[in-house]
Point group: C2
Chain length 232, copies 2
DNA sequence: ACCTGAACACCGTTCAAGT
DNA sequence: ACCTGAACACCGTTCAAGT
């Protein structure tokens, strides 16, 4: 039972404020209004408190958003499936679980920084490193490879998951892709020989599949690094 | 010769404003003061104009920063070395040139979005796609692989290159790493079996090398995808 | 120890007015 | 067509005062 020292909370709030409550409310508002629409005033209102009160629980807005993003990572870790057939498969499932969690909270990906210092980012890197170890990779390469996978997951997710304008409003991803594809089609084929030929792929592609394709390239590379075969 | 219609520019500015001049000044100020310290007022002052004048040349601050980031990508493209021995080697050199350019302008990486719409981002993806084509990868996989490499380069760069506080002030990356390593050392080895064993690697690692290690994993994966060998 | 809410310093953007 | 600069609406953060 949480001790409630000092004055009882005002308004309708049942519990005293805590960092956990503040971060939880921040996640909800970031989901709802996006990073743009998320303000301390709004958060204070939602928590029925003064905006100054928040500074008792977090140092500033940057720290709060970082903590909110770390909580999203925590969701991914608990959502990730358990032991699978082989460390490689488990690594793949973990990475996809993180992508999916970040996709559900589009503002979050760009706030996961490296090297990790927050609790769930640390857990994630540790789990990746443990799985990399289990693939049999020599000890002197484990840190670099684990970090590379961590960077891929968070960095590429942030690149793919562009935080659409508002939370609920989806201004049609298809419309955006169509518009971009038309733009590419109007380019000069002499200057853009590749792009002018792949507009069909652009229209059809799926973001999650794209993430997985790159991930599989990376994991294949890991496989080769672990067990190099002589050139044919 | 640029036509200068209307009133001659005030103050000491020799030329009329243009989007090119505005973006150039924005890059300089972003380098100097970081994204935090970069304001339209400061930019207007630097250009000896009113802050409202900037809105004649760019729609808003977001667009201006995106254009500034795209210019950094342009630098990378002109800096990238020419034809190398093999498409794979050229791909690798191009990716590293982009990383280096983004490293020189730490605010830029997180503002390169996908799918690309700005001029230099389009050039970069086209160049990557052309090189991927030259490796001999079948047509139906080129788009996905080229995009994966593009995402890796921009996304992982953004993750690795954390925009230090101010522009010139370097609050010692080593100090930060030391501090993080100490943090990891204090973790419970039962909960973090991997991290507590790699603090040495953390202290010693080089960001650019890390980028390249992941890149090489990816390119190895591409190599295998292009020319799959039967399992041993 | 924790909360309140007004006050401060600042910022992006707009716009009527100029040339 | 392009620039000026004041004005508007808003925001993160601080802090004296409360309990």
């Amino acid at each position: 039972m949480p001790r409630t020292r000092g004055r009882a909370p005002a308004g309708g709030r049942a519990e005293a404020l805590s960092q956990e409550i503040v971060v939880g409310a921040a996640v909800a508002l970031l989901d709802e209004f996006g990073e743009r629409g998320f303000t301390f005033r709004l958060l204070a209102e939602r928590l029925k408190t003064g905006s100054g009160a928040l500074y008792w629980h977090v140092a500033n807005k940057d720290e709060l958003v970082a903590l909110a993003a770390d909580r999203v990572l925590g969701d991914a870790l608990t959502a990730a499936p358990g032991p699978a057939a082989g460390a490689g498969a488990e690594l793949r499932a973990l990475a996809i679980a993180v992508f999916d969690a970040l996709d559900r909270h589009q503002w979050a990906a760009s706030h996961v920084t490296a090297p990790p210092t927050l609790a769930n980012a640390l857990r994630l890197l540790d789990r990746i490193g443990t799985l990399v170890t289990r693939t049999g990779l020599p000890a002197d390469r484990r840190f670099a490879v684990a970090t590379a996978i961590f960077y891929y997951v968070t960095g590429v997710s942030a690149q793919i998951i562009v935080p659409g304008p508002a939370g609920g409003a989806v201004p049609s991803r298809d419309a955006f892709l169509d518009q971009t594809a038309e733009h590419w089609e109007r380019l000069d084929p002499a200057e853009h020989p590749f792009l002018t030929r792949v507009t069909g792929d652009l229209r059809d592609h799926d973001d999650r599949d794209q993430f997985i394709i790159g991930l599989d390239l990376l994991l294949t590379g890991l496989d080769v690094a672990r067990d190099p075969r002589p050139p044919a």
